[in-house]
C-alpha cells in the first residue's frame, strides 16, 4: 500500500476516533457519571446494538491509528530492510490481535456470556 494511502487512513481514523470517543464520553452524562459506570449500566450498554457497533468502531479506529503510529515511530527509530519488514508485519499482527480480542469481549458481553 502507498504511504499516502496509509497516512490518509491514519488521519481519517484520528478524526473519526475523536468524534466517536466524544459520543462515548458524553454517554456517561446521560445518567450520573458514577452511575453510568456501574456494573449493570455497563452491561446494559453492551446489550444495546447501536452502542456495541460504536464500541466496535472505536476499537477498530484506535487499533488501526495506534499501531500505524507505533509503526511510524519504530521506522524512524532504526532502519534496515529486515527490521522495517518486521515492524510493518508486527504492527499488522498486533492490530489484528487487538481487534480480535476486543471484538471477542464485545460480542461475548453482548450475548450475555459474562
Amino acid at each position: 500500500m502507498k504511504e499516502s494511502t496509509i497516512m490518509k487512513i491514519h488521519y481519517g481514523t484520528a478524526l473519526a476516533s475523536v468524534g466517536l470517543v466524544a459520543v462515548h464520553i458524553l454517554m456517561r452524562l446521560t445518567t450520573g457519571f458514577a452511575d453510568s459506570l456501574s456494573y449493570e449500566n455497563v452491561l446494559a450498554n453492551y446489550r444495546s446494538v447501536p452502542y456495541v457497533i460504536m464500541l466496535e468502531l472505536i476499537l477498530i479506529l484506535l487499533a488501526v491509528h495506534g499501531f500505524n503510529g507505533l509503526r511510524v515511530i519504530l521506522l524512524e527509530l532504526k532502519q534496515g530492510r529486515v527490521y522495517e519488514k518486521a515492524v510493518s508485519y508486527g504492527s499488522m499482527v498486533g492490530m489484528i490481535v487487538l481487534i480480535g480480542y476486543g471484538s471477542r469481549t464485545i460480542i461475548m458481553t453482548n450475548m450475555g456470556m459474562t
Binding site: 502507498k2 504511504e3 499516502s4 497516512m7 490518509k8 511510524v72 521506522l75 524512524e76 527509530l77 532502519q79 522495517e84
Partner: protein
Amino acid sequence: MAQVSSIADEQASTPLSSPKSILLRISKFNPKLDESSKFMEFTVSYQKWTTVLEAILDVKKHFDHSVAVRYSCRQATCGSCGMMINGKPKLACFTKISELDSDVVTVEPMNNFPVIRDLTVGFEKLFEKHQKIQPYLIRDDSELESDEREFLQSPQEVEQYIQFANCIKCGLCNSACPTMATDSSFVGPQALAQAYRYVADSRDKGKDTRLNIIDESHGIWRCHFAGSCSQVCPKGVDPAMGIQFLRGYLLGFRS
C-alpha cells in the same frame, strides 16, 4: 585543549590592534585516528565585519595549519562552509562574529552528516537524495526540437517556485532537521524542497513521477513540521512550506 596566542611571528590578517577578541573553539576530529572529538581553543581578534570563516582561516594561517574546513566563494553562494556555530547550523562566511553576541564562538561540523575531518562533512548522501527526486525539467519535448527557443512563463508562474530555486545545497536544513537525526533514510528537507521546486514549475511534466518517489516509508510523511529547516536556510528558502504544499498534492487538496 591548547591555548595558543602567539605561535606565529607573522602578523594575523586581522590587525592585532583590533579592540575586541573572542575565544574560538574549533572541533578537531579525524575519524581514522580519533575516538572522539576534542576542542582546540584560540584567541582571535576581530573587527565588526569579521566573519567566522575569516576567523577560522586566520587560525589556519597563523596557529594551526591542520584545521580542515571546506570553503570557496566566501559570499554565501557556493554553500560549502556550513557548520554548527554556537550550536546552530550556519554558513561560516555569512555569519559575522559581532552578530553572535558572545565572547566564545564554538564551531563544530554539521549534525546529521558523516565527518570527514574537523569541520568538513561528507555530502554524498545529500547529493544522492537530491538526485533521487530528479531535479531537472521532465517533459517529452525540448527546446531543441521545438520552434520556440525557450519555455515562456508568466511572472505568476515563476512566483510559484522561484524561492525554492535559490537553494545552494549547503545542507544546513538537513543538519537542523530532527527527523534526519534519527532516520538516516529520510529523504530530507533539501530534497523535498527541490521536489516541490520542480513540481510547481509550469514547464515541468514530471509531477506524478516525483510524487511517487517521495511517497514512500522514508519519504515526505516522516516530516513532523518542526520548521527548523526553514529557520536556518541562509537563502530564505522555506522547505517546510514546500513540504506542506507537496502533502497537499498527495492528499488531493492541490492539483
